[in-house]
Amino acid sequence: MLHTVNKSSFERNSLQSCLDIIDEKSVILLLEDGVICAADNTKSSMLAQLAADGKVFALKGDVEARGISAKLAENIQLVDYSGFVDLVVEHGTAVSWL
């Protein structure tokens, strides 16, 4: 499955709720304010292991818009909109954590 998170982990618990439910076959795409979870910050450890396994993606446009391109946590993979589409195709049912 593809899980999308569009809220900052400093504002909402969306990322934590997603992590509570996610299975080993799932990947996470961070978009909109969700890309704040992709920055190297005090909450980065939440995603570190999944990112190391290559399972965490962030939408490039949203990352750049928020000026955090140079401040990303390790192993976060950037995708553009066509990369987003590829993730949907590859992982089937998408669940959004609003």
Binding site: M1, N13, S14, S17, D20, I21, I22, D23, K25, T93, A94, V95, S96, W97, L98
Partner: protein, 134 residues
């Protein structure tokens, strides 16, 4: 039309925002398409089906009564996160009784509420064709 599995994921408390009511209305409208529908209540979404709601003081419709109509619409799978309940100091006893009549069992009244662990939710979610978040 082939039946697809639809899950509605509810994660917000009622009344403060319009998500809960919107979700319920979409569920009722979509029920006309006779798909395999289930609802999940996670995080503050568990407050949508808490017993004893009284909206007299806020001038809003108490739509918690409407969840009991879901059985009439052949919607009888309401999954409630055990973790979300316990985090909030709640248990199954705090949830409204929501029942349906089982057509295949001489219309016996059965509970639509299923308290589930995160592992069970993960599995149920993975079985869905479509998951709609509110």
């Amino acid at each position: 039309m082939a039946t697809k599995k639809f899950m509605y994921l509810n994660r917000k408390a009622p009344y403060g925002t319009v998500y809960a009511l919107e979700s319920l209305e979409v569920v009722l409208i979509a029920a006309a398409f006779e798909q395999d529908v289930s609802l999940a209540f996670i995080d503050d979404g568990v407050y949508q089906i808490i017993a004893g709601q009284n909206t007299d003081g806020i001038g809003m419709k108490n739509f918690s009564k409407t969840y009991n109509a879901l059985g009439d619409y052949d919607i009888n799978k309401l999954y409630v996160s055990e973790q979300s309940l316990s985090e909030r100091g709640l248990s199954e006893a705090d949830i409204m009784p929501i029942v349906y009549e089982d057509e295949d069992d001489d219309w016996a009244e059965k509970s639509s509420i299923k308290i589930v662990s995160n592992a069970e939710l993960t599995k149920i979610m993975a079985e869905q064709d479509v998951c709609l978040s509110f």
